[in-house]
């Protein structure tokens, strides 16, 4: 079925051209040009001679397009996309809050966008002061005194922190082999553990959604390097036993690592350092409103206690009187990337923090938690909540009963939400909840948006009862409908090639 009204047009002359599907390679004409190289104002060289016989013989098959072709092409693609500015995006664990526009303006200032990482420090004092200010602010929010801004993303922060912890244990002559990870953890946690050469030990959750304290205690021994824990956790609950957990971890000489994915719930209310965590990463692209960019770039700064600080990757920014300088900690694990971090992302996060201030951050967390609890209250009679407790900034519902009653899966519900102009919650995560729907409204949505979302989900539950096939077939109004993922693997068409056109 067509997604557009077809009051006119014909097979040869459709009323609407599809927004997507026509590749940039298929636009323009052989003689189309957009940006050309400037005329050469120095003597020309023989490329093959100066490059020692390495000059390219066959040019790459890049698009031939004019600027207007590009403008239209990407405008069409953009209009087939859904972002936070398009509508409600309650993607649990991803904190899809509004991205303030001043952040975008800030990172484009020439004094930030056109400086080079190898410039002398005295010529980049503004940038270094900004980084220092961000380090200080994140340390205060985390309750952990030393921060590195190097990691490029959350998973990269996890890796940085675990390598730092590994170096700490090794330096103490106490190398260890295992890292404990709850069964509710993000997939990045066990993947990071494996990359650091540690063995993953999975810890079950208890019936209240927290870490099973008995199982944790049983797993803890002097071969455990660390526990990786998301708190608030991935079912949206603050672990009531957090102090007992970190105490038990420390009792065997292990360290406690906090996955900061859910920091948006607790800013100014509770600090991971005060909970007994030794290290954490912070997703600037979640809590601190930097945009997700369709998958990145993010930034995953790591905050640690003083004993861990000398192992952090360099360089860090230090303040020396009125001067800001770069330095690498004494026992540093070494670099985890090139240059100084995702500076453009750091500028956005700094801008956000300076915009809202400390009380603003607390208010953000309070509203995020209130909005989640409000939405949960509106929905819980129609959609069973996995753990019937006060939640933090997100909660997990189960589509299990609906599936049993109607055959409609959480996937179908997610696709149907698209027809109502709402981005679906995170689905099928965490793995410990059957047919999970993880809802995170964030503080930047108004009450009317939350009310409508609840009304839509209730309506979808009714639709599932009345006409399951309606949901099995959804979505109907999106630029494309359900896509054949099996065929994508089977055909493995991962790149356009000119020979396909000629064939």
């Amino acid at each position: 079925m067509s997604t557009f009204s077809n009051a006119g047009g014909s097979a040869e002359v459709p009323m609407h051209e599809p927004l997507t599907g026509t590749l940039i390679f298929e636009r323009g004409a052989a003689e189309s040009r957009c940006v050309e190289a400037p005329p050469l104002d120095v003597p020309a060289v023989s490329l093959d001679a100066v490059l020692g016989g390495r000059a390219r013989s066959v040019p790459p098959a890049l698009p031939h397009v004019t600027e207007v072709d590009i403008a239209r092409h990407y405008e069409h693609l953009a209009s087939a996309n859904f972002g936070v500015d398009s509508g409600f995006y309650p993607l649990g664990s991803c904190t899809m809050k509004y991205n303030p526009k001043i952040d975008e303006q800030a990172c484009r200032l020439p004094g930030f966008a056109r400086i080079h990482p190898y410039q002398p420090e005295e010529t980049v004092q503004g940038a270094l002061e900004l980084m220092w200010g961000l380090q200080e602010a994140l340390a205060e929010v985390a309750g952990l005194p030393v921060v590195t801004l190097q990691p490029a993303a959350g998973a990269h922060g996890e890796l940085t922190a675990l390598l730092t912890i590994r170096a700490y244990h090794t330096a103490n002559g106490d190398p260890r082999a295992k890292v404990l990870v709850p069964d509710s953890a993000h997939g990045t946690n066990p993947a990071t553990v494996a990359m650091c050469g540690y063995q993953v030990v999975q810890i079950p959750s208890d019936e209240r959604g927290g870490v099973d304290l008995e199982a944790l205690r049983a797993a803890l021994d002097t071969d455990v390097a660390a526990l990786m824990l998301t708190n608030p956790n991935t079912v949206g609950l603050f672990d009531e036993n957090i102090l007992a957990i970190t105490e038990a971890v420390h009792a065997v000489g292990a360290l406690a690592y906090c996955d900061g994915a859910n920091l948006n719930a607790i800013m100014g209310k509770s600090r991971p350092g005060d909970m007994g965590f030794d290290a954490m990463h912070i997703n600037l692209h979640k809590t601190f409103a930097t945009p997700h960019g369709g998958g990145g770039p993010g930034a995953g700064p790591v905050a640690v206690t003083e004993p861990l600080a000398s192992y952090l990757p360099g360089p860090l920014v230090a303040r020396d009187g009125e001067m800001f300088t770069l330095s690498t900690p004494e026992h540093s694990i070494g670099r985890v990337r090139s240059f100084l971090g995702n500076f453009g992302v750091l500028v956005r996060a700094y801008t956000y923090i300076r915009a809202v201030g400390g009380e603003g951050l607390r208010e953000i967390s309070e509203q995020a938690v209130l909005s989640a609890n409000y939405l949960k209250a509106l929905l819980e009679d129609a959609w069973p909540v996995a753990y019937d407790r006060t939640c933090m900034h997100e909660f997990v519902m189960s589509g299990g009963p609906l599936r049993k009653a109607t055959g409609v899966r959480t996937l179908d519900v997610a696709k149907r939400l698209l027809d109502y102009g709402i981005h679906p919650p995170t689905v099928y995560f965490p793995l410990i909840v059957e047919e999970a729907l993880m809802v995170e409204p964030t503080e930047t949505e108004g009450k009317a948006t939350l009310d409508r979302f609840a009304a839509v989900l209730r309506l979808i539950a009714e639709e599932a009862q009345a006409d399951p096939d309606l949901l099995h077939g959804a979505p109907y109004t999106t630029p494309v409908r359900r896509l054949d993922e099996a065929a994508a693997v089977k055909n493995a068409d991962l790149a356009w090639r000119p020979e396909d056109v000629e064939a």
Binding site: L19, T20, F25, R33, C34, E36, P38, L47, R56, L62, E67, I70, L77, A78, N81, G83, C94, Y98, E104, L109, P110, R114, I115, H116, Q119, T123, A137, E140, A153, H186, A191, A194, M195, Y198, I266, S270, G294, G295, G296, P297, P313, S338, L340, V345, A355, E363, L370, R389, T390, M392, L418, K447, V480, R481, D484, A487, N491, A492, L494, A495
Partner: protein, 445 residues
């Protein structure tokens, strides 16, 4: 500033519906001892006007590329970014979207990723590209790890002519002993080919080189690739995508994995990040590739569409058995790279590359002509070159900075052996007038 739309009255209604007397009650799961009993100690909030002024003042303290003539490169380059690039990446539907996990409402991102992958394949000559990594260092490191998985071997041979920060990143990642890294020192600014031959054995998973090297020189990729393959190892080549309009693609020399820093393609210098890591390989190895990849398929109505595919390699499905822990990548930077490549096309890219090469050679000859700099490497170079300075490098750079020039990267900061060497990067933005002015100042030293 405040970005919360809920009103006080609505907040009261919401609390009533929840059945809580206060917002604080919602935080009662937090143990008393873990609560923060004081306000966060942070600077006061600012109005947008005050904040804009503060940021401009900070940025104004930096000497940016519009106020200085810079010859800094070494992995990050100040090429011209066409206006259309920022016009596209500034579209909120692109930059405020998440990872395209719901393909029906993410076709814009997914098609752009597919097109980006296609362009990277065209540039490098490889069959498959992923959707991007964090940076060149991360891509380089992941290539070493992937080669070990593909070959089931546990050692890699790395050229000492690779960017020192990339080598250091690899060393950090493998510190746990998962992979042995043997570094072959550079000789004459390029990889010592015979030393590579000696380092190879049946445990070697890959030979990793960079061309252009950190020193700007071009490697003998054909010989290095043959050595790697003779030993049953993969050949990993770090490339500079901006130069692939004028340089033969790494695939022509038998590269099995091609990596690179993609910043030069339409992305700001931005103090070194975010750029993007390029990662391309053979189709036969795709199941060992790290990172996301988009593929073409059809929807239930037969329309062409795109999805993230081969996801069973990734952490959200495979957890500790994933090919990498990478989740977020540098999608928006990859979008910029795609728009850039569409805008310049093969002719523009070749023209820009040719301009860089011609201007770099013009400057190099002129600097050597002043008598203050000396040629140290015989290998050919493209848009970046290292010369030995006859005096004190730091003093020369301070002197030139006073005259409005960032006079190259002092290589002594990376390796004691390279003390006295200065690395100059030239782009299409440097006019002959600027180059002549710089040479004139150098002559007067």
């Amino acid at each position: 500033m405040r970005f919360i739309p809920v009103t006080c009255e609505e907040q009261a209604e919401m609390l009533a519906r929840v059945g809580a007397r206060s917002v604080d009650e919602l935080f009662s799961d937090i143990p008393e001892d873990a609560r923060l009993a004081r306000p966060l100690t942070l600077p006061e909030p600012m109005s947008e006007i005050a904040l804009a002024a503060h940021l401009e003042s900070l940025a104004g303290r930096d000497l940016d590329g519009s106020r200085v003539v810079s010859f800094l490169g070494a992995g990050i380059y100040d090429h011209y970014v066409p206006a259309i690039v920022d016009a596209v990446v500034s579209k909120p539907a692109f930059f405020t979207a998440y990872t395209p996990y719901q393909p029906e409402v993410s076709q814009g991102t997914l098609q752009a990723v597919y097109e980006f992958q296609s362009m990277i394949c065209q540039l490098t000559g490889m069959e498959v590209s992923n959707a991007s990594m964090y940076d060149g260092a991360a891509a380089f490191t992941e290539a070493a790890l992937m080669a070990a998985r593909v070959t089931k071997r546990d050692k890699v041979v790395v050229s000492g002519a690779v960017h020192p920060e990339w080598r250091e990143t690899l060393a950090t990642y493998v510190e746990s002993g998962t992979l042995e890294v043997v570094e072959v020192p550079a000789a004459g600014g390029v990889t010592d080919v015979s030393a590579v031959g000696e380092a190879l054995d049946e445990r070697t998973a890959a030979v990793l080189v960079s061309s252009p090297t950190f020193y700007g020189t071009l490697e003998d990729l054909a010989s290095l690739g043959a050595l790697a393959h003779d030993a049953g190892a993969l050949f990993v080549v770090a490339t500079d995508p901006l130069l692939l309009g004028v340089l033969e693609p790494p695939a022509a020399y038998g590269a099995d994995i091609v990596v690179g820093e993609g910043q030069a393609l339409g992305n700001a210098v931005s103090f070194g990040g975010p750029g993007l890591g390029l990662f391309a390989c053979r189709k036969a190895h795709i199941r060992q590739m790290p990172g996301r990849v988009a593929g073409k398929t059809t929807d239930v109505d037969g329309r062409t569409g795109f999805v993230l595919t081969f996801s069973t390699r990734e952490q959200h499905i495979r957890r500790e058995k994933a090919t990498s822990n990478i989740c977020s990548n540098h999608a928006l930077n990859a979008l910029a790279a795609g728009v850039y490549l569409a805008a310049v096309g093969a002719e523009g890219l070749a023209g820009i590359g040719e301009a860089c090469v011609a201007k770099a050679h013009y400057l190099e000859a002129a600097l050597v002509g002043t008598g203050h700099f000396e040629r140290v490497f015989d290998a050919p170079f493209a848009r970046e070159f290292a010369l030995r300075y006859g005096g004190d490098v730091a003093a020369m750079q301070r002197h030139m900075l006073e005259r409005g020039f960032l006079a190259g990267v002092d290589l002594g900061r990376f390796a004691a052996d390279d003390a006295g060497f200065v690395l100059f990067a030239v782009t299409e933005r440097h006019t002959r007038e600027v180059l002549d002015r710089f040479v004139e100042e150098v002559s007067a030293l």
